[in-house]
Symmetry: C2
Subunit: 221 residues, 2 copies
C-alpha cells in the first residue's frame, strides 16, 4: 500500500485517544512506526507536530502531521478507503455517526476522569452523570451488533478504548456497566473479538494501576 | 432543488451556532422554514428533535433531525454539493480544515463567554487566553483570503459569526481584534461582503445589548 513507509504515530500506551488511532490503522492494515511519548518529557517531534495542543496522538503521514483522534480516524478512512469504511455512505447516517462520536468525545473521558479525581458529593453527581451517559449510549446501540449496524465503524472505534476503563468505573465509582447497560457490555465483548481491538486495548488491571498512579500524581490519595 | 420544501431550522437569532447553519444554507441557496425558539420555553419539536442536548440549532430535513452545528454544516455540504463545497477534496487539507473548525468550536465561544461572565483576576486570565486564540487564528489565516485559500468554507463558516462579537470583546475585555490581529479583522470584513454572511450576522450593537441582558440574567451586574 502506497505511503505506509511514511506513517508514524506519536502516542502513549494508556491513551484511549491513541488507542482509537491504533485500532483504525489496524483495521485498514496500515503499517507504521510507533513512537511512545513520555508525557512528562515530550519529544521535540511532538511539540513541533502539534504546536496547538502539544498532545498525542499525532499521525505523521509522509512528513505531514494530523492531530485530534476523531480527525485522524476520518483521515485514515479517506486515505485508505479499503474494504472497511468507517463512516456510512449515506449523508444522514454519516451525520448520525459523527453526532455519536462527538457525544462520546465530549462526555465519556471528562466524566470518567472526574470519577476518580473527585470525592464525596461531587463524585456522586459524577456517578449519576456517567450512568446517564452509559444508558444513553445503550439506547442508541439498541440491539445492533455495532453502532453503525453490521459494520464496525467510527462510533465503535471512538468508544471501544473505554471498555478497558469499565473496571476503573466499577472500582472507583461502583458502576457496573454490565448491570446498567448489558447490551453495551456485550457490544464491548464483541468488539474485543476483533484482532484490531484485542491487540490494542490494555488489560483493565493495567489501566487500573495507571489510574492509581495518576491519583497519586493529582494528590487524590 | 429536491427536498427543499422539507427543510426546517430550529434556531435562535443571537446564536453563533445557528448563524453558521443559516450561512451554510444561504451559500448553497437552500430555502427553508425558520423557527425561532424561545430558550426559556423550548418547543416540543426541539425537545423531540434533539433529546440529547435539547439545544438549537437543529436542521430537520424531510422529517429527520440533524444536530450540532459543525455536523449540520458538513451534512448540508454533502446533501447539496452544488458549486461551492465547504471542505477541500484532498484528505490532508480536509483534515486541516476539520482541525481548525474543531479548534474554534472548543475555544472561541467558551473563552469569549467567560470574558463577560467573570471579573478581576479570572477575567484577566481569560483576556490573555482570548488574545492567544485570536493570534493563533491570525497565524493560521496568514495572508490567505479565506482560511481554505480562495474558497469560503468550513473554517470561515465556523468562525465568522464571532465577528459580531468583536465589539463585545472590546467592550468587556478591552480586546481590539483590529490591533491584535489585523489580518483576521480584514478577513471578517471580507466575509461580511458575502450576501450569505451580511444577511445573517446581527448588528454588533444588538449582540452587545443581548450580552447586557445575559449578564443581568447571570447576575454579573
Amino acid at each position: 500500500m502506497a505511503g505506509e513507509k511514511g506513517v508514524k504515530l506519536l502516542d502513549f500506551w494508556a491513551s484511549p485517544f491513541g488507542q482509537r488511532v491504533r485500532i483504525a490503522l489496524a483495521e485498514k492494515g496500515v503499517e507504521y512506526d510507533y513512537h511512545e511519548e513520555e508525557l512528562a518529557a515530550k519529544s521535540e517531534l511532538l511539540l513541533k507536530s502539534n504546536p496547538v495542543y502539544k498532545k498525542i496522538p499525532v499521525l505523521i503521514h509522509d512528513g505531514r502531521p494530523v492531530c485530534e483522534s476523531l480527525i485522524i480516524i476520518q483521515y485514515i478512512d479517506e486515505v485508505w478507503p479499503g474494504k472497511n469504511t468507517f463512516v456510512p455512505s449515506d449523508p444522514y447516517s454519516r451525520a448520525q455517526a459523527r453526532f455519536w462520536a462527538d457525544y462520546i468525545e465530549k462526555k465519556v473521558y471528562v466524566t470518567g476522569s472526574k470519577l476518580w479525581k473527585l470525592k464525596g458529593e461531587e463524585q456522586e453527581e459524577c456517578k449519576k452523570e456517567l450512568v446517564e451517559i452509559i444508558k444513553t449510549l445503550e439506547r442508541e446501540l439498541g440491539s445492533k451488533k455495532y453502532f453503525g449496524g453490521e459494520s464496525f465503524g467510527l462510533v465503535d472505534i471512538t468508544l471501544v478504548p473505554f471498555a478497558s476503563w469499565f473496571y476503573v468505573y466499577e472500582a472507583f465509582g461502583g458502576i457496573s456497566v454490565e448491570r446498567e447497560a448489558p447490551k453495551l457490555a456485550a457490544w464491548a465483548k464483541g468488539c474485543k473479538e476483533r484482532e484490531s481491538v484485542a491487540k490494542t486495548l490494555p488489560d483493565p488491571e493495567k489501566v487500573y494501576e495507571h489510574v492509581i498512579s495518576l491519583r497519586k500524581r493529582y494528590g487524590v490519595e
